[in-house]
């Protein structure tokens, strides 16, 4: 860890002390391992991911382990969450055909949401999805699912047609359109799905970190404190904004997944 790779908290550096503002950057996303098992380093990100998974499992287990016709409080909340994805996403985009995919969509939504929400939970304060491996694996799951669905519903030739040849256009256009469609549907889709979630959470964490370190950095003298107050207020406002963005990104992830799946389910003409 070089001299520049510390936050303002760690050096106890303040305004007018002539030490320069230690701005957060890419290294703010790297953690020292808590312990090491063979080649695997177990760090804070993995701990949060495991905790979040356990949290989701316990919540839905407690809610749905013995379901009642008249739901209790916990079952009510869980059903509202389940119904939001089922009605708002699966039905809206895929219609009746979407019913078998509701479990996948619900799991994806709640997993992504909880992993995002770690960003504003005190003491955790790190969005797990801002480590690109997590969105990448989720996008890979989505990719495998919709590719499988494409080839299962349309057969091999029909599947290729579904992916690369949109129907109902004049013939010469296909010369240009087929490679573009292939590139966008097979290669670009998982890439953008990954990068969208990753970059949103990365940017959000960086913003929060910047304003909070700035608050700490400017504290101390009277003049500095005057500047520290607006920075802190902005940090609070951005926390609220981040809460909104986290839910929105989980929603967008699921909506796009449902969209890809509904395109895969379309019969070739």
């Amino acid at each position: 860890m070089s001299n520049e790779e510390v936050l303002a908290f760690e050096t106890d550096c303040h305004l007018f002390q002539d030490c320069g503002f230690p701005a957060p950057s890419v290294w703010s996303f790297l953690f020292e391992p808590i312990f090491t098992v063979g080649p695997i380093e177990f760090n804070k990100i993995m701990l949060l991911a495991l905790l979040g998974t356990a949290l989701i499992l316990t919540f839905f287990w407690a809610a749905f382990a013995n379901p009642k016709v008249v739901p209790g409080k916990l079952q009510m909340v869980a059903e509202a969450g389940y119904d939001f994805v089922r009605r708002g996403v699966a039905r809206e985009i895929m219609g009746k055909k979407g019913e078998p995919f509701v479990p996948l969509l619900v799991s994806l939504f709640f997993f992504v949401w909880v992993m995002n929400i770690w960003a504003v939970i005190p003491f955790a304060q790190f969005p797990v999805t801002s480590a690109i491996a997590f969105p990448a694996v989720l996008a890979a799951v989505v990719w495998v699912t919709y590719m499988t669905v494409t080839f299962r519903t349309n057969g091999f030739v029909g599947g290729i047609r579904n992916l690369c040849v949109p129907s109902g256009l004049p013939k010469p256009i296909y010369v240009i359109l087929t490679p573009i469609e292939f590139f966008s549907n097979v290669i670009l889709r998982p890439f953008t799905l990954t990068v969208r979630l990753f970059a949103n959470m990365f940017a959000g964490h960086l913003l929060l970190l910047l304003f909070i370190t700035a608050t700490w950095y400017m504290l101390g003298t009277l003049g500095g404190t005057l500047y520290a107050i607006p920075a802190f207020v902005f940090a609070l406002i951005l926390t609220g904004f981040e809460l909104f963005i986290q839910a929105l990104q989980a929603y967008v992830f699921v909506v796009l997944t449902a969209n890809y799946l509904s395109q895969a389910l379309e019969e070739a003409h």
């Binding site: 708002g88 953008t192 990068v195 969208r196 970059a199 967008v252 796009l256 969209n259």
Partner: protein, 81 residues
């Protein structure tokens, strides 16, 4: 081209990664695009309030696709410092 930018930046005393300026440029187009998407989405909802749910879903879909461009600029701002 980039060498010219670097000499220009150095001559005018700008320090740090030029990629951040690239991110600023990359955010212009998506900024306009997101404005158009939400503007027209709200207009559509005002004209046809009963279709608000469907419009909102498709609006957010378009927003997500546009936003990806700006975010790629953001990621590349860190990519080659």
């Amino acid at each position: 081209m980039s060498a010219a930018f670097e000499t220009l930046a150095a001559a005018s005393g700008i320090k740090g990664s030029l990629n951040t300026i690239g991110f600023g440029l990359a955010a212009i187009g998506p900024g306009i695009g997101v404005g158009i998407v939400f503007g027209n989405g709200v207009q559509a909802m005002a004209r046809q309030p009963e279709a608000a749910g469907l419009i909102r879903t498709n609006m957010l879909l378009g927003f997500a696709v546009i936003e990806a461009l700006a975010l790629m600029g953001f990621v590349l701002a860190f990519a080659n410092p």
